[in-house]
Symmetry: C2
Subunit: 252 residues, 2 copies
């Protein structure tokens, strides 16, 4: 027991240089001594639990957050409890980039499952980036990547139908998980159907029906949050090109 506790404690405060995510995350491309410098400004807290907030819309911006383990959703809370899910964030992904501009968070971030999070105080980070060109470059790349992904989402929401949207969501999860050393065809979704629907601009019921249909068509095996992808290339096909079948709404 004591043993177990020690291991878990260690896991939480593993330094960047020992972190398996360093090739996806801020330290990418940095010299070892610069990784140490970056490491020295990062705060690592105890793990957060399902429903805990990293920050809420309206709060002052002080730090960026990086998922180390677990997953996080960002969302724009609206009056009357409704919310638009803006993104799901997996290990190595940075949260809070949209708040740099106004020094104030416009959206909220909530962890979807027990998660370890690295906090990066932004002001100190900025000083460090000025001194380490490769860190500055990596930061530009990460900001740019975020913009590119948002453009992909605009395309998805602007032009794709429900089937294509869910297929795109699943293949995207598959490839992101795969990059993190997990199976691209067998995984657990940490978000609810409702959250998936909000993210994709669809009603829960539509998402649910599509999961059923994909299963009937032999593309997936689904049990609650557990998804097994049986035909990944068919899903990728569906996500990318317009549906080969007859109907083609929204070809604006």
């Amino acid at each position: 027991m004591t043993q177990r506790k020690v291991i878990s404690f260690d896991t939480i405060r593993v330094a960047c240089k020992n972190c398996s995510l360093s090739q996806l995350c801020l330290p990418m491309g940095l010299a070892p001594e610069d990784v140490e410098r970056l490491d020295s400004i990062i705060k690592r807290s105890r793990p957060l639990h399902r429903g805990d907030h990293l920050f809420r819309g309206g709060e002052r911006f002080r730090s960026l957050y990086v998922v180390k383990t677990g997953s996080v959703k960002t969302y724009a809370p609206s009056e009357e409890g409704g919310e638009q899910v803006l993104g799901f964030h997996l290990p190595g992904e940075i949260i809070g980039l949209d708040a740099i501009d106004k020094s104030c968070h416009a959206c909220s971030a909530k962890v979807l499952e027990t998660s370890a999070i690295c906090e990066v105080p932004f002001q100190r980070f900025e000083e460090l980036a000025a001194a380490i060109p490769s860190l500055q470059h990596q930061m530009y790349r990460l900001l740019s990547k975020e913009i590119g992904q948002d453009a992909d989402m605009l395309l998805l929401l602007g032009k794709k139908n429900a089937e294509e949207r869910l297929a795109a969501f699943l293949t995207s999860m598959s490839s992101r998980l795969s990059k993190r050393g997990l199976s691209p065809t067998d995984f657990y979704l940490s978000m609810s159907r409702h959250e998936i629907g909000s993210y994709l601009g669809l009603a829960v019921e539509t998402v649910s029906r599509l999961f059923t249909r994909f299963q009937e068509d032999g593309l997936l095996r689904v049990d609650r949050k557990h998804v097994e992808v049986l035909n990944l290339s068919a899903l990728e096909m569906m996500a990318g090109a317009p549906p080969s079948s007859a109907h083609k709404q929204r070809s604006n």
Copy 2:
């Protein structure tokens, strides 16, 4: 005539320190001598004309572009000529930020009317930013701002109906033009109905019908590309809150 030519030539190559956009653009917050340094790396070409490309999807990324006068659209070209409009860019706005990550443009940029464009070679810019902290900070802010605007669009495409979308588009144009010293209630749209539709995830016909309806309801006076906003606050209302009337689809 010679006189006229000289003036126009002068207008094109006006330096950052004399540019009316400096408070919206990269030079914001820079000391005069740093503005000079930034200015020295910027290339200014002859004006581009309607339909000219700044860059096309697939091309190597070398420079960022800033609109000085006129307007530009970015779009993701798809097979079979269809395109998703990703954004419209007014003077002072930066184009190409999404390409830093992959060093390759994922979208295309085309000018909508005769426009003057400043080209910012990115590598030299990056060196300069490393040496000028306030320039680095401004660059982070601009990247972050872009991410925040994309989130607004995700919300629009994910949750808003056609009426709310067009109202949001018009109020956004109004406020952006107003920041540039133009009338917030009387302006010309440089893009076609088709492009507006693509941007908003709507069919051309829907956009056209909405313009007609807004006019019937006394919100606008429209003549081709010329728009006079008669009731700005009503439009803002409509863009923000769900429609006060009965129906409310897409309240996922």
